[in-house]
């Protein structure tokens, strides 16, 4: 049972990752190209006539193929973890139907793990960001993911205690989620390493493409996982029913 769910999560995660990779290729790569062109023009202005000494390990075509490797492996890993969490939640927390639980869990994961970090530390194209601060920026990013996950657990625990009807439960859950999240957004240090003169439109378009990539991934994954799980449940329910029929 757990094995089936884990394999389902890994494979559908890989598939959703490749779909998200397609979106990122179409809408994100042109922005990455523009940002790299700006970066190179800036470097050429800083040291005119001096050609870049650094050898490129992977050229741009290689990096565009590597995009699909990255989103595919990301989907595989995230899909596997999702399946194990789903196995623990099933029948205990959330909607009773398989498809309903898959969609609710994927939607919650998008908000907690993607949207909560994105609001505080939005995605940046190449040419934005100081290489010296990558350690602290990565740490802060991971902290916001952990805050999102902890806030989700608090929201679920709070909602389960409220017995005054569905509206009161939803209000309590959203409030219990937002209090720690907004506190973290307020208290954590702000990072702004966008260079002066970097085009605002390009930055906005890149960030939209980045958020879109994650939205495509979680939507595709939630729908696929829910659809396959619903089908499997219907088949499992149908087998004993027909077997019990007197022929």
């Amino acid at each position: 049972m757990v094995r089936t769910l884990l394999v389902r999560g890994l494979l559908l995660g890989l598939l959703a990752g490749l779909i998200a990779g397609g979106f990122a290729f179409a809408y994100g790569e042109p922005r990455v190209d523009s940002a790299i062109a700006l970066e190179e023009a800036h470097a050429a202005r800083e040291a005119p006539g001096h050609h870049h000494g650094e050898e490129e390990l992977v050229g741009r075509p290689g990096q565009k193929a590597g995009l699909f490797l990255a989103t595919g492996l990301y989907g595989l890993a995230v899909g596997g973890v999702f399946a194990l969490v789903y196995a623990g939640l099933r029948g205990r927390v959330g909607p009773r139907s398989e498809g309903g639980l898959a969609l609710a869990a994927a939607g919650t994961a998008f908000v907690a793990v993607i949207l909560v970090p994105f609001v505080k530390y939005p995605a940046n194209p190449p040419a934005v960001g100081d290489p010296d601060t990558i350690g602290s920026r990565t740490l802060l990013y991971v902290v916001t993911i952990l805050v999102g996950l902890a806030a989700t657990a608090i929201a679920v625990a709070t909602a389960r205690r409220v017995t005054a009807g569905p509206w009161a439960r939803w209000v309590a859950a959203v409030a219990a989620f937002l209090v720690p999240v907004v506190a973290a957004w307020t208290l954590l240090p702000t990072v702004n390493e966008v260079p002066d003169g970097f085009p605002a439109t390009l930055l906005w378009q890149f960030r939209l493409a980045s958020l879109g990539t994650q939205l495509v991934f979680w939507t595709a994954f939630g729908v696929l996982f829910g659809w396959v799980s619903d089908r499997a449940a219907r088949r499992a329910a149908a087998v004993p029913a027909t077997a019990a029929l007197p022929v």
């Binding site: 990255a70 029948g91 009773r96």
Partner: protein, 62 residues
Amino acid sequence: MSGLSTPSVIPFPRLRLWLLAVPVLLLIAYLVLMDNGAISQTGAYLHELMHDGRHLLGVPCH
């Protein structure tokens, strides 16, 4: 239709062994999203190859 309305609950002891997969999966995610050659020992090659994915998945870089 009972299979649809009340999915079977998986007992936690049966889940425990499978949780060993979580560190492996998180290591894969780390190598894709955050490693700069420190763990993979491929220098910057893996980082460069999956660089666009890292930026577009929204993880800090550069």
